[in-house]
Subunit: 314 residues, 2 copies
């Protein structure tokens, strides 16, 4: 059996055909046409899915289900998108709409939840029945697996760990609160922290790295730190400490088997993961009496959205 | 059928006989004899339980099960107390020990989890399948109900929301971390905040209230605030804001039906609950698109431990 996974973003929509083992048979990306209403966008998705089937030699009618990952608040029980800032959607009956347009059984969930589900079914937290995915990107997203099921709270409005307050009365967040974890631990925050260090240390290697790469990115501080730059090391250490603070909170609340780190920053690998695992476990309550919470990198990369969405309907 | 609920504390052990509707038929309190090992304490519990049965006219052999609530890390699946600072226990096979001593089926859980379970089965969060109990006492405890089941993480090491960091690099906590929620939102913290205000404002009514009552308590600031004292109002407002910060975090992560507030401070009633409900819901992500998270006072009071423990075996 073949399943379709659709990762709906504000700019692009990634569509893939996924087999029962989580392997992508074929995939494609189309533009999100914001001039169209949601029904128009669903028609684009179905048209591309038919093309993809042709290309892959798969009979469209053999698709066992379509999973949708959407940025925003998606009530996974009713299939309704309550709210998506990126897509400008509000109370959109997405699952019903796609079932009508495609003739195929459909389910939907928040994109971070799809990614968490993908890592649990086919990625680095495979077979860990209690695992949390944290994505460090533009913001900080999270998806929570409890006892082998996706947990997202009443009306799927939970699972928003990026908006934990870790610095009371701290930096202003877009959500209206102050001091949210994502204001300190996202890639966006890392860039901000790197820029602040560059102003403070005009002789730092950070400036050289930026000249080589054309701009400040989430990699800048890590690269300069590897070259031994003191200011960059300070940025990296503080940034890891901010990530660890939120992970300790999740560890003390959930004590999962593992927390999976995804998003662009997770590509730093052991330089990020190893200090995090040490800091988090030494911060957990009564840690010497309890099993360790493993910190591991995500393994599905930017295909986690497609694979996780497809896994919703498997 | 009658069930026994045992709330094991570092100073006293409360023992009760509870019917299927959650009503206490008879209860008693004995001293926790710290000179004895856990087996000696379990013998004391069984002896008192037999006395209680006699007093209540209940046949000991009619007890359908014994539930134990214990402060510390209790693996509810294995019935082992991994660690209890209050009792000085470490890796104690408590459930097995009590089953041997009593001849009755036994289960055990952390005391805050028992209280959460009691409120869910018979108290103010009855029939709310997603609810969190937060107790504001010496520390801040928490118990989490997800989809009608007690959730406490791998090896029951989770559910420790009191040790969420809400002020990074903040006040030193006994657990080793800095800035834990309980350092700001417990009754202990409220007393500390009241004492600080008394030093700062020697003319405040706080001093009069303390003279009347003999000491600073968790009630002092609330009483003086009711009388219109400005310094006391500031203490109460800031304290409520600290509680709200942690509740917002739990709301964004879990989005439960309700968060139940227990512990001594919860006796303040609407003066505490109403501003909390307003602050929490205005702090939740996309709150206008989601169902409200209700904030409600616990209803089982200091019997929640007995009732919740008994409910474990019902």
């Amino acid at each position: 059996m073949i399943y379709a996974g659709v990762d709906v973003g504000g700019t692009n929509i990634k569509i893939g055909l996924v087999d029962i083992k989580g392997a992508i048979i074929a995939d494609n990306s189309i533009k999100t046409d914001k001039n169209k209403d949601y029904k128009g966008i669903l028609e684009d998705i179905v048209a591309d899915l038919r093309l993809l089937c042709e290309k892959a030699g798969v009979d469209y009618h053999d698709i066992g289900g379509i999973g949708l990952g959407v940025p925003g608040v998606v009530d996974s029980r009713t299939g309704t998108v309550s709210y998506s800032a990126n897509l400008g959607w509000r109370d959109v009956p997405l699952v019903h709409g796609l079932e009508v347009a495609s003739g195929i059984r459909t389910e939907a969930a928040n994109d971070a939840n799809c990614a968490a589900w993908g890592e649990y079914k086919f990625g680095s937290s495979r077979s860990m029945d209690n695992a949390i995915l944290v994505t460090l990107g533009t913001g900080v997203g999270s998806g929570i697996i409890i006892d082998g099921k996706l947990f997202d709270g009443v009306a799927s409005a939970g699972g928003e760990a990026g908006h934990m307050i870790i610095v009371k009365d701290g930096k202003q967040c877009n959500c209206g609160l102050k001091g949210c974890w994502e204001r300190y631990a996202s890639a966006t925050a890392l860039i901000e922290q790197t820029e602040e260090a560059m102003k403070k240390y005009p002789d730092s290697l950070l400036h050289d790295v930026v000249k080589e790469n054309g701009k400040v990115s989430g990699r800048t501080a890590f690269i300069a730190a590897e070259r031994g730059d003191k200011a960059a090391r300070e940025v990296v250490e503080n940034y890891i400490d901010y990530i660890a603070t939120g992970l300790i909170n999740l560890g003390n609340i959930f004590h999962p088997n593992a927390i999976v780190i995804g998003g662009g920053v997770s590509n730093e690998g052991p330089a990020l993961i190893e200090p995090l695992e040490e800091k988090v476990n030494s911060g957990l309550l009564a840690s010497e009496h309890n099993p360790k919470v493993r910190i591991i990198g995500a393994s599905l990369g930017n295909k986690a959205g497609i694979i996780g969405a497809a896994a919703l309907v498997m």
